[in-house]
């Protein structure tokens, strides 16, 4: 989580208006899902990679690392979709006969799996485009502009900050346990882990209370009113984003379904 966060904060696109970044992401997702064309998906995957690594200076090592998890997940998932069954052996390859049905890969199921794979990966790419250039604080700000209810936005911000604190507390407890010979053997593992989870809860509760006191001390009245950084929408960014989406639509109408 930290590497994504740090990349977003140091991104050359940090100062872009968050609503433009969020808007582009939503438009990309919509284009990929609605146009439902493999070539559009492929273009999005390649374009996002080029944009992030080439222009937004994300290290390609990091990007590849981030892509590995969804890629593995997708390969397994799509493999399952590619396998189909039929009462006759024609059109099924390699055609294994189990329980009165022929099992294997058909042209249609392969098409389906490939479609699914491309669309999913394109959507993941679009989400990374947002995540690697937009810190959560900006995202919450943009969502507020897009009429997300205030309480949900407040919660998003608080949860984001507290995930960090939560992980740090867990790591501190884990190290403290290890330093005193925790996690030895199976029983020791269970014992230490239970203690970690239980105390994590108690510690975080105590911490939340302290946090709440500190909010009250500064006159908290039930909603987190804060100032945001000021961003300006550059016409160029809007134009380029629109051009990108228009290009995708054009490709899908000419290229059709390949």
């Amino acid at each position: 989580m930290n590497s994504i966060d740090q990349t977003a904060y140091n991104s050359p696109w940090y100062s872009l208006h968050p609503a433009v970044k969020l808007g582009l992401t939503i438009a990309l997702l919509a284009a990929v899902l609605v146009l439902d064309s493999r070539i559009v998906s492929a273009v999005v995957i390649v374009a996002v990679f080029a944009l992030l690594v080439g222009i937004a200076r994300v290290s390609w090592r990091l990007y590849m690392g981030l892509m590995t998890v969804p890629l593995l997940f997708l390969l397994v998932g799509c493999a399952a979709v590619a396998i189909s069954s039929s009462p006759s052996a024609s059109g099924i390859w390699p055609g294994v006969y189990i329980g009165g049905m022929w099992w294997g890969v058909s042209f249609q199921s392969l098409q389906e799996a490939l479609n699914l794979f491309c669309r999913s990966l394109a959507c993941v790419s679009a989400m990374y485009l947002l995540a690697l250039t937009t810190p959560v604080v900006q995202l919450v700000y943009a969502l507020r502009l897009f009429r997300l209810p205030g309480i949900v936005a407040d919660l998003m911000g608080l949860i984001y900050l507290h995930i960090g604190i939560f992980l740090k507390t867990a790591r501190d407890i884990y190290i403290a346990q290890q330093a005193r010979c925790g996690y030895q053997g199976f029983a020791g593992h269970l014992h230490s882990l239970t203690a970690l989870l239980g105390n994590l809860f108690i510690k975080n509760l105590a911490r939340s209370n302290a946090c709440y006191d500190a909010l009250l001390a500064r006159g908290f009245k039930g909603s987190l009113q804060v100032l945001d950084e000021q961003y300006t929408v550059k016409p160029l960014h809007l134009a380029l984003s629109s051009l990108f989406i228009a290009g995708l639509v054009l490709i899908s109408s000419f290229g059709g379904r390949i």
Partner: protein, 282 residues
């Protein structure tokens, strides 16, 4: 005589587990003083501070602000919290937002300050404390020293009359600690009333004008630093030590070298009195 800014009379507070955190504490804080509550861990310092802006309500006794007993309904508390700012010991508990700018502006907007005006004041305070370059940084990537500064900024921006700092130097390196205390000095010179808690006897001795020694929820000694720190038995009971400046001065007096009437308050004064001792050359 000016009325006290803050006065606590006979405060008692008992936690759910039966701990008597405060047991009859009385304190009076004049306007524009530099005061320190001194005490070992668990003496009740933080609990006492939470009473001063109405976060805790005493089980016995009363807190007065500008001569008025505290009222505990929402509106009165909002007004009080505008005047009494607390910088908490652990900045991680105070910084609720991932953005420095958002966090500093929080209290100000709660006061009903207009966004444009709030932005101006936040920028001004950031510039004053030298943290304007941190504004776009996330709070969780800051060092402890930086977090402490942001926490202070979030309170200062509300322009409170009384600024309370719980263990201001805890977790800071000597350089940062000195910087932070100089900042507090500057605020005092601007007319603010400052109250800190600490278990650092040298800090309390050199920085404060008035000291309360708190131990096990009771005030064991109070007065000027020299008065309080001369009460060896009270210090011992609280497991605190004599400040080194005072100890050296006392030792010199014992050896018949009595340098000055009054003990030195800082290194410069000590040095001066030692120079005075030097036999005239030639």
């Amino acid at each position: 005589m000016k009325p006290d800014l803050l006065r606590a009379e006979n405060l008692a507070y008992i936690y759910h587990d039966g701990t008597r955190a405060l047991d009859g504490v009385s304190i009076a804080l004049g306007q524009n003083v530099k005061a320190a509550i001194l005490g070992p861990n668990g003496a009740g310092k933080s609990t006492l501070f939470l009473h001063f802006n109405g976060l805790l309500r005493p089980h016995r006794g009363t807190v007065y602000y500008k001569g008025q007993a505290l009222q505990y309904h929402k509106k009165a508390l909002q007004v009080l919290r505008r005047e009494v700012g607390i910088v908490f010991q652990n900045p991680d508990n105070q910084l609720f937002s991932a953005s420095v700018l958002q966090d500093i502006s929080f209290g100000l907007l709660n006061q009903g300050c207009k966004p444009a005006e709030a932005r101006r004041r936040v920028e001004e305070i950031g510039f004053k404390l030298g943290i304007e370059h941190l504004f776009s940084k996330p709070t969780h990537f800051l060092s402890v020293g930086q977090k402490k500064m942001v926490a202070l900024a979030g309170v200062l921006v509300m322009e409170p009359e009384l600024i309370i700092c719980d263990e201001p130097t805890a977790g800071l390196d000597p350089g940062n600690a000195e910087c932070f205390m100089q900042l507090l000095d500057g605020l005092h010179q601007q007319g603010k009333t400052m109250l800190i808690s600490t278990h650092d006897v040298d800090l309390a001795y050199q920085w404060a004008d008035e000291v309360w020694l708190l131990n096990q929820g009771k005030v064991m000694a109070q007065g000027s630093p020299v008065e309080v720190f001369s009460r060896a038995e009270a210090l011992q009971a609280a497991r605190l030590k004599t400040p080194w400046l005072l100890e050296i001065w006392q030792e010199m007096a014992r050896l018949g070298l009595s340098p000055t009437e009054l003990p030195p308050r800082n290194k410069t004064q000590l040095r001066q009195s030692m120079l005075n001792l030097k036999p005239e050359a030639g």
